[in-house]
């Protein structure tokens, strides 16, 4: 098939194009992963379906119940929204870590999810914040929890003709806080050895009433570490709680040895980084009380 470039204006046009061309087509947003993969010969789609002319893919809506982030919104544009940064500082600090300023001008949280790297920075923060993915396909819409969107390195739940439209994040209560920390051996422009996203809620007494801990780069997909979250519930975020959550995160991590670190090292870092991330999220939650 000959190369093609399509710019649908509606979701229906986009899903029809994706279904018609099947594996020969690929959705295209910022291109910061896809064009690199094409240049490296890892993917060779004939038809690129540019999603950025579809209004819903570029929307950002901060509602009283939920925050809707269009899948193709550039991370640079998200960082410019002061209210979004105030409400979800952890998600934004994760998004900000994706590449250089030049990459930020094009990269999107939706693309970060769809690329399905185990080390994707924004995904642990999305999972910790209980984000839901709105997926459109030839048969209509369906919702997929961010925690279940990736099914393995490079693969997602998206079927033929389907595309990710937006991420919907429950609006955090004033007494909730989130945070994301990534460990890399340098200060910028690198891929996570371990990444940790945390969101938690503290009541007026400082008791943790809700928590979610998600670990990146220590498994084939992001790990929703429920045992770590449970270790925080029902009491204050004190030294004992931090030790419990750290231990639970170490246990939940299922890393491999690779050029960025050994499995044993990654397990250790997962514990340390989880403790630090919980401390930041707890401080933010306490500031809201």
């Amino acid at each position: 098939m000959q190369a093609g470039f399509e710019q649908p204006r509606t979701i229906e046009e986009a899903t029809a194009l994706l279904q018609k061309h099947g594996d020969a087509a690929r959705p295209f947003a910022g291109g910061t992963d896809l064009l690199v993969q094409m240049r490296g010969g890892m993917r060779s789609p004939d038809i690129l379906v540019d999603l950025k002319r579809i209004p819903e893919l570029g929307q950002l809506e901060i509602g009283s119940d939920e925050i809707v982030i269009g899948a193709a919104c550039s991370t640079a544009s998200l960082r410019e929204n002061a209210e979004l940064v105030r409400l979800l500082p952890g998600l934004l600090e994760a998004a900000e870590l994706i590449g250089s300023e030049q990459i930020q001008g094009r990269s999107s949280i939706g693309g970060n999810l769809c690329n399905a790297s185990p080390a994707a920075d924004s995904v642990p923060a999305l999972v910790a914040n209980s984000a839901v993915c709105s997926v459109a396909g030839p048969d209509g819409r369906r919702d997929v929890p961010a925690a279940e969107f990736s099914t393995g390195p490079g693969s997602t739940v998206l079927g033929s003709g389907e595309l990710l439209v937006s991420l919907r994040v429950p609006r955090p209560a004033p007494d909730a806080g989130d945070a994301y920390l990534r460990f890399i051996p340098r200060s910028e422009m690198d891929i996570a050895v371990v990444g940790v996203g945390v969101a938690l809620t503290l009541d007026a007494d400082g008791t943790c009433t809700a928590a979610r801990v998600a670990l990146g780069a220590v498994g084939p997909t992001v790990i929703d570490a429920t045992t770590a979250a449970t270790a925080l519930l029902g009491g204050p975020i004190d030294t004992a709680a931090l030790e419990r959550v750290s231990e639970a995160a170490r246990e939940a991590a299922r890393p491999i040895d690779d050029k960025r670190g050994t499995a044993a090292y990654r397990k250790h870092v997962a514990g340390v980084l989880t403790r630090r991330t919980v401390e930041i999220a707890a401080r933010r939650a306490a500031e809201g009380n």
Partner: protein, 157 residues
């Protein structure tokens, strides 16, 4: 397949060209439009040599498709100086010797100008982080950083 006809604006000038569907903006700028100031380094979004602005936002032109810029506004290094008068960022890079081989320089100029338009008074740390996506194998960066900070000071005066 027929080539795609793209009508766009480059440095404020209406521009049209023909391209293949998967041609990058970088290749269109250099080969079809004849603006060779934008350089190809890595072609994978790592080095920043091909930095341009797209609707005012800093991007790598190697990771933008030429067909995408239809109806959009592209800014390249050729649009930075005002005729014979260099932009303060360009002038200060010369004065501080913030370049040697010069391949990274157009990207550094475009990126630094984009920073100073957003933040007229960046800290040294701000400049270093903003330019983290512009690789330079000659200068060791220090002269570039000093030049950008000096340009900021002059532009605020």
């Amino acid at each position: 397949m027929a080539k795609l006809h793209v009508e766009t604006s480059v440095n404020g000038e209406p521009t049209e060209f023909l391209c293949e569907p998967h041609t990058t903006l970088l290749d269109a700028l250099r080969n079809d439009i004849g603006l060779t100031g934008t350089k190809e380094g890595c072609a994978t979004g790592d080095c920043g040599a091909c930095s341009v602005t797209l609707n005012g936002r800093l991007v790598c032109s190697c990771l933008v498709l030429a067909a995408e810029v239809s109806g959009q506004e592209v800014g390249t290094v050729e649009g930075v100086a005002d005729a014979e008068t260099l932009h303060p960022v360009q002038q200060k890079l010369l004065e501080h010797a913030g370049l040697q081989c010069g391949i990274c320089t157009p990207g550094v100029v475009v990126a630094a100008k984009a920073l100073l338009e957003r933040d007229p008074n960046p800290s040294e740390r701000d400049v270093r982080f903003w330019l983290a996506g512009n690789l330079c194998r000659c200068t060791g960066y220090d002269k570039i950083i000093r030049a950008v900070l000096d340009a900021a000071t002059e532009m605020r005066a």
